[in-house]
Symmetry: C2
Subunit: 747 residues, 2 copies
């Protein structure tokens, strides 16, 4: 007998489908939030609005080894959701998307029925019939016959649970979570509201990144019974008197502050068949009061459909910056899903009242206007994501740069990998420099460049251990490279990042008239050549005495195995990473012919890694050798087709807060910013017949960029026209592009 809920559910699906068919297609309808939601992409299908502080994510990575293929506690695990898992234990309200380390994934909201049980190993349910659209997610809980639907505003989540008749429970679980931090507090305010905090931190198992996140949860219906719970510590001798040793203890009607490692609150209702109960959860990193203000300001008072519609509209607006014609449905889906993933992080940190926790301190600051952003995975994102924001979302990029400069003001250092106002010290280099310099040269200049320069200069010059961003700066400056001193010290990776950062800083210094600085940093940027070993014809770790590291295997470091001198890669994936000095790379690698040969061999012999950042610009390097541009076109086409799919596993590596997505968006557009800080886009074959990129006329002279391709896109590009003028090279400058116009690519 079909379950009435399921009938309702199918009807809903049909409605959504009909809508897709009958109305003009909005870009959000091309988004498949399940793309990347395996442990490759580490994205998730949760409901979120563009750059929202809150995402409402189906948490399914704990508690059941039969229904789940992956468990967060069974190994390295960095995402609250896996497409491969089916054991649902609630919706987590703060989450990271596309990162490679466990963090956040807390404040879990779980509906159940029947007797109360607060143990996620027992209360979880098999999930089925998942539906995800931008700003909306739904799944059916088989064990309880509960339909769950969620949506979000910037700083709050809304959940709608459709219950069967009988005792229904809604749990707020502050114990379970993805983060490796623990500890929470809560207070039941009344029979419709609970407030509290949950510790987060230890991102990538690093100390010093701990912060509480605060919340207020509000129910559409008054609970008939409620209380708090705590998982009690294990007792030994005393267990003979304690009924709750090592068990979940239930504090019925408890209303004072509850604290502990693993606590929660429950709200119980007598529901009629198909009765819906809604929960809104407001969040803040400042205080419970601010979480309440955020909720009050953004809530539609349990009007789920309005919240969902607003979320959809926000996405359609954000995604319609680019419109496409042609291409297959899958191509459109890959493209718009990538554009969607690029607008999850960096995300809003500031509350509706402008308050946010200051960088590397526990002070509360207030912004007059604009948003304070967080989640800056700069080692990833400087390569393409921020240049893309500058092109398509310059207002947001300006706010991000201003956020970065504020962080310098607050902590004395520009960040490297910032998370909720903490420096996580993850990855290496000084990637904030290319982000800021690139923004400047793209023409977005309404920020305090003097202060930004001061901060960049500081990390580029502060000697010794006091340098929090470049810990090995002394060697870098005195030797011109970072020598390998410990087996897995990532020394080469460190230095290669410093070179490109210094090249960027040099460009800005020149623009600001700081000639001595320009020369100093430009010179430093050239020292990458120190690593080139003529014997192997490749970069190689170098000892302090100038000798290369003995027993060198350029292959070592494949598939994320550790490699002396190289971080998350091997010599092949780092060999062409001095893109700020392509001319130098060509020379050192034996001239144009040998350079092309070695570069092509990297692809042909399987030494190119599409799953991580260091080499993702490689395909466009062929463009720098006249006559070899067809290789770029071919490799880019091949990589798109091979690695980017309309499927949960359709992102080749961690999305890295949108970096992989930016790669495929650029690649499909047929333009790529190969050298951050350099304004030339390398051109290749666009995927779509026609693309329109809206330009923000507060920043750019042009209104829109149209990219058209014709002919057989699988063949070589025959000619390129910019505003009807034939192009001699396979590059187009940003300044030219943002005048607006039509780029025609003829195959």
């Amino acid at each position: 007998m079909p379950h009435p809920l399921k009938i309702k559910f199918l009807y809903l699906l049909l409605t959504v489908f009909s809508a897709s068919v009958c109305t003009a297609q909005e870009p959000g309808e091309w988004v498949n939030p399940f793309i990347g939601s395996t442990n490759y992409g580490t994205t998730n299908p949760g409901a979120i609005v563009p750059r929202g502080m809150v995402s409402v994510v189906p948490f399914n990575v704990a508690g059941n080894s039969e229904l789940n293929k992956h468990d967060k506690d069974a190994g390295w695990w960095s995402t609250p959701y896996s497409w491969d898992n089916k054991y649902f234990t609630g919706y987590s309200h703060v989450n990271l998307s596309g990162v490679g380390c466990p963090e956040l994934g807390v404040i879990l909201l779980m509906p159940t029925t029947g007797k109360l049980n607060a143990d996620f190993r027992e209360y979880g349910s098999e999930m089925s019939e998942q539906v995800a659209h931008p700003g909306y997610y739904s799944t059916f809980l088989n064990k309880y016959s509960i339909l769950t639907e969620v949506s979000a505003t910037e700083r709050s989540g809304i959940s709608r649970f459709t219950f069967p008749a009988g005792q229904s429970n809604i749990l707020i679980d502050l114990g379970n979570g993805l983060t490796n931090e623990s500890g929470a507090s809560l207070r039941i305010v009344n029979d419709r509201e609970v407030e509290g905090s949950r510790m987060t931190g230890t991102f990538c198992y690093n100390d010093g990144t701990e912060r509480p996140v605060y919340f207020v949860a509000r129910f559409s219906k008054a609970a008939e019974e409620l209380g708090a719970w705590k998982k009690m510590p294990k007792m030994d001798a005393e267990a003979s008197w304690s009924a709750t040793s090592n068990k979940f203890k239930y504090y019925k009607n408890y209303r004072a502050e509850m604290t502990g490692d693993s606590i929660g609150a429950w709200f119980t209702f007598n529901t009629k068949e198909n009765e819906q109960i809604l929960v809104e959860v407001g969040v803040s990193y400042v205080s419970i009061d601010n979480a309440r203000q955020n909720l009050n300001a953004e809530s539609n008072r349990f009007d789920f459909e309005t919240t969902r519609k607003q979320a959809e509209e926000k996405w359609n607006k954000a995604l319609s910056t680019i419109t496409v014609k042609g291409g297959t449905d899958d191509q459109k889906t890959v493209f718009y899903t990538a554009l969607y993933h690029m607008q999850i992080h960096p995300n809003i940190l500031s509350d509706v009242n402008g308050q946010y926790p200051a960088m590397e301190s526990f002070e509360i600051k207030q912004r007059e206007n604009g948003e304070r952003y967080t989640v800056f995975s700069l080692w990833d994102t400087y390569r393409n994501l921020h240049p893309f924001f500058s092109l398509a979302f310059p207002e947001q990029q300006l706010n991000m740069v201003n956020s970065l400069i504020e962080m310098y003001d607050e902590s004395g250092w520009l960040p490297r990998w910032e998370l909720n106002s903490t420096e996580t010290h993850v990855m290496e280099g000084d990637p904030v420099i290319p982000v800021i310099v690139d923004t400047w040269f793209r023409g977005i200049r309404n920020f305090d460049v003097a202060k930004a320069y001061e901060g960049m200069y500081k990390s580029a010059t502060t000697p010794g251990k006091d340098n929090k961003i470049r810990p090995d700066i002394d060697d870098y400056i005195s030797l011109g490279y970072v020598p390998i001193k410990a087996q897995y010290d990532n020394s080469v990776s460190h230095a290669l990042e410093y070179y490109i950062a210094d090249w960027n800083l040099a460009q800005l210094a020149k623009d600001l008239g700081k000639t001595a600085d320009y020369e100093r940093f430009l010179n430093q940027s050239k020292s990458w050549k120190n690593y080139y070993d003529p014997e192997f014809g490749i970069v190689r770790p170098k000892l302090e005495n100038g000798d290369f590291l003995p027993d060198f295997d350029p292959k070592q470091g494949e598939n994320f195995e550790p490699s002396p001198g190289f971080h998350e890669g091997n010599a092949y994936q780092y060999n062409f990473c001095a893109q700020h000095d392509v001319k130098g790379m060509i020379e050192l690698n034996g001239g144009k012919k040998n350079f092309v040969k070695k570069l092509q061999a990297t692809f042909d012999e399987g030494n190119f890694d599409m799953t991580n950042e260091p080499d993702i610009h490689y395909p466009w390097l062929f463009n720098y050798v006249k006559g070899e541009e067809w290789r770029t076109q071919k490799e880019v086409r091949r990589l798109i087709a091979t690695y980017f799919k309309n499927a949960p596993g359709g992102l080749p590596g961690n999305d890295d807060t949108g970096t992989m997505s930016a790669w495929v968006v650029y690649a499909m557009l047929g333009i790529y910013p190969v050298i951050p800080g350099d304004m030339n886009y390398a051109l290749s074959s666009p995927v779509f017949e026609e693309v329109k990129i809206k330009l923000d006329q507060n920043f750019y002279p042009g209104k829109e960029i149209i990219i058209r391709q014709s002919g057989n896109p699988e063949s070589k590009i025959k000619s390129i026209k910019w505003n009807e003028k034939s192009q001699k090279s396979f590059f187009l400058n940003h300044a030219e592009l943002v005048k607006g116009g039509i780029l025609e690519v003829i195959h």
Copy 2:
């Protein structure tokens, strides 16, 4: 080589000693706070003021099985301190004295030196050279060469730590503690202040008694380094990446809210040799704000000597209500220490602003004047402690009765065993009734007797399971007794308590003109006879069908072993517990001669238990048989001499929040309120030559009572005179006594 600190310490001791010798002796100097501080008395030597919310107690019952004879986690353990233990892990700031269940013993303040270590199993130190006076305690920490001294105000503690030169640390440990609850929060406010909360509850392993206690701790010196810590949960697979799995993790400079099961904060200083750092800790059961208000209102701004002096003065004032002449030093010490122990609980619950948590709810109430009291162990204290308060501290007793009536107002029930505004449901009966009725008949009537009567009537009459105080009321009323239905249901003990409560209620009903109620409750009170089994000549558990429980062993229940029908005792210890009907007891036990014979045999055959309450009135029952009063004199003398000593083990059983102490104080005065609610004191041999009891003339007509004894106190009393008038009986009525005068007891 003598340690300079030790020299200082000895000097201090000498100073104290000299003071004792040279000045007129204050009663506080006769107090030895170590009496009862083994697991018999379960008192402790911590610093406290009369009825203080805060006591600062050397916590030494955890973490080291070599230095400690007893460990709180190795078995049933109910006190934060043991004289037998030497491993000190800090000063706990809220504590219970003289109870038989673990609770409170939290907010530990610990000084250490050298490298920071937050694990109490490691940071603890051997303690030595303990000194305790009312309002003052000191011990030397051998491991660190730190002299520690503590004192208290009503709602705050002060600690003075004298450090050696070098790195010195002060830890606030919110993990370790006596309670079986866990969970805490803290926030470091600045480099001199930390605030937070700690969960307490599960008194006697009962649920529903959970409350957070809030605190603010302030340091006399700014810390040079500080932070929070947390004991991290154990990880499995993830432990390979986490440096802190199952370890204490240190969050240096962490300033946001820290939460968890086992957390704390540290403040580190560079100290000079003998540098003193002081810490003041304010406490509240309402909020952190109130803890701060309490601290601000009562603190002497780190002036330790003033705080200590004020505490001493408060004790001297409280103890000088009774002055004694004669007796040995040990007798004086036993007497004044008992009087001291009687003024620890009930203690203040309300904050300086009058706020307190309402009974059995989480509302915050405000008192206009007077204190809200807490820790009402009424099954114990109704017998003698509250009658004593009525005599010697009528203002306090009035406030206590008003507190009890407020509890009824707030929760709908008068309490049985109240702890921090929760009903712990510990022990049985309806002991609040004799407390209130006894107070009324002693002439303290400035309370809402109508409301009190309403509350008492409710617990005495509400049928069925709705009766929270008398769960077996239906059987009690329909059968006239509580039948045994489960092996260890304490049924006889329940009923015996109901009888005496009903007798009391009857007396009040009569006084209020409620004749029908009077007759009803009086009749109920007589049904104790149901339990008298002529076969054994003793009370015996009875089945629902009226048969006595088969396989009866009247001895079973000795030494706290379980006994069918009886709670913490056996048939002997409950046989003469219908003291409201002494006449009936005499009749049923075969007339005066047999009654005396059986009563005497109870003592002679070792069936009297001095360590627990049910039979503690037995020695005075001889007074009810003309000519046998010498037995009372003899037994009371013997029991005082045998069980009450100037030694850590000098209290025969748990002090039961002052009940045992009240026993010995009365016994030494030579008067005893055998029947709560009956105003006749039974008279026996006073210990001291002369005693003066000051009367509070706001309540009583007399100014003072003088009790003199002459002759050989080891012999029988020859005659008794009250205000020069020879007494015919060995009883004196309260109303007569409080007119003031001289009671002469001639041996």
